[in-house]
Symmetry: C2
Subunit: 205 residues, 2 copies
DNA sequence: GTCTATATTCAGATAGAC
DNA sequence: GTCTATCTGAATATAGAC
């Protein structure tokens, strides 16, 4: 690895770390430079602007989350229950975003804080990620394992939302692990908190 | 109402609206002033700083969300099912944050974007709000209506998280209403997506 | 490649006239 | 109460030496 590549990687890592913990605004070019012992102006030798640097970090984060979920699904048995696929994907997402590295965390942490250009740049990536989940839910409903009386798009967004918001309260130091959070989300949205009989009123929108 | 009070109210309203749609950083004193046809310096006659103004907006937002949920719960029958209380609270939250005014939306939208002082200032308010939900879940578990094998704190945060994240994708113009989103969250986390028999593995943390 | 120095812009905030 | 004018600080970014 060339020295330039090494430095470039250090900049990306420091940016991911700062975005993941401090968010977009508090992540300044100066603070990034300080973290790796450089002057802020030197960053611009490697990246043309703050937003190009941030954009690259977010691209990596999206790719890693997608890879984590895809890999987990690929390891499933051929004849798995669609619920099991959902479970595996939920836990993989939780581990990637909560327990994983700074890159996927940076994505979730800065969601809704980015300037319009960056938001637009990552819209397609988010759509692609959403499609993984759309397929999982469709499979479940069409195989008869999951209820078909709910709006699937809303269901998908609720699952992803519960997982994404966990970044706001999850504390890696506590006794609840990232996988535990995923298991809880699965238990709740698939099996439900309720005990015993309950009606499932038709909710169609 | 005195003129000073009227202007003050206009400033608060404009700030709530901007926070709810654009977030904390993009809400500048200058942009607030422009919205109501003032000079930015004039804001400082009514509020000593941007953060004091923002803090007041967030206080109002918290109060409104708490009131909405409390009122909805107060209207329940005395002998209601604990699940019904959870349902009513979830829908009230959804309507307050998604369909309601700018103040509760501002709270959720800026969560995780605020400077440390403001974050700290509202920590107690968030704790109080969380306690409403803690009680609802405790009631459900202790009465035997809800499963006791999950971490209740995690369950509470997952429910609130699913609702809060909805602000990122909910579009008031679409055919899914705020109450619909609440109904979906309730159906999922209480009744579950699954159809028919399923085991509920013990998950204790 | 990284440095020092600096240009530019824009935010929050203050002073003082009206 | 609201204005105009201005200060201060911080952030992105550029110029040019080394």
């Amino acid at each position: 690895m060339k020295k330039s590549d090494r430095t470039r990687q250090d900049i990306l890592d420091a940016t991911a770390s700062s975005l993941a913990t401090a968010g977009y605004t508090a992540t300044t070019v100066k603070s990034i430079a300080e973290t790796i012992g450089m002057q802020d102006a030197s960053i611009y030798y490697h990246f043309s602007s703050k937003d190009e640097l941030v954009g690259e970090v977010l691209d990596i984060g999206t790719a890693r989350a997608v890879t984590a979920v895809d890999q987990a699904l690929a390891e499933l048995q051929d004849d798995h229950d669609p619920r099991e696929a959902l479970r595996v994907a939920i836990i993989a997402h939780a581990e990637a975003v909560l327990g994983g590295g700074d890159y996927p965390r940076a994505n979730v942490r800065t969601f809704g804080q980015l300037p319009p250009d960056l938001t637009h740049r990552h819209r397609q990536g988010h759509r692609n990620y959403g499609q993984i989940w759309t397929r999982l839910i469709d499979d479940g409903v069409e195989s008869g394992a999951l209820r078909g009386d709910l709006n699937r798009s809303v269901a998908r967004l609720i699952i992803i939302g519960a997982l994404c918001w966990a970044i706001e309260w999850f504390d890696a130091g506590e006794e609840v692990s990232a996988a535990d959070v995923g298991e809880h989300v699965f238990q709740m949205v698939v099996n439900g908190l309720s005990i015993g009989e309950h009606e499932s009123p038709a909710v169609s929108v």
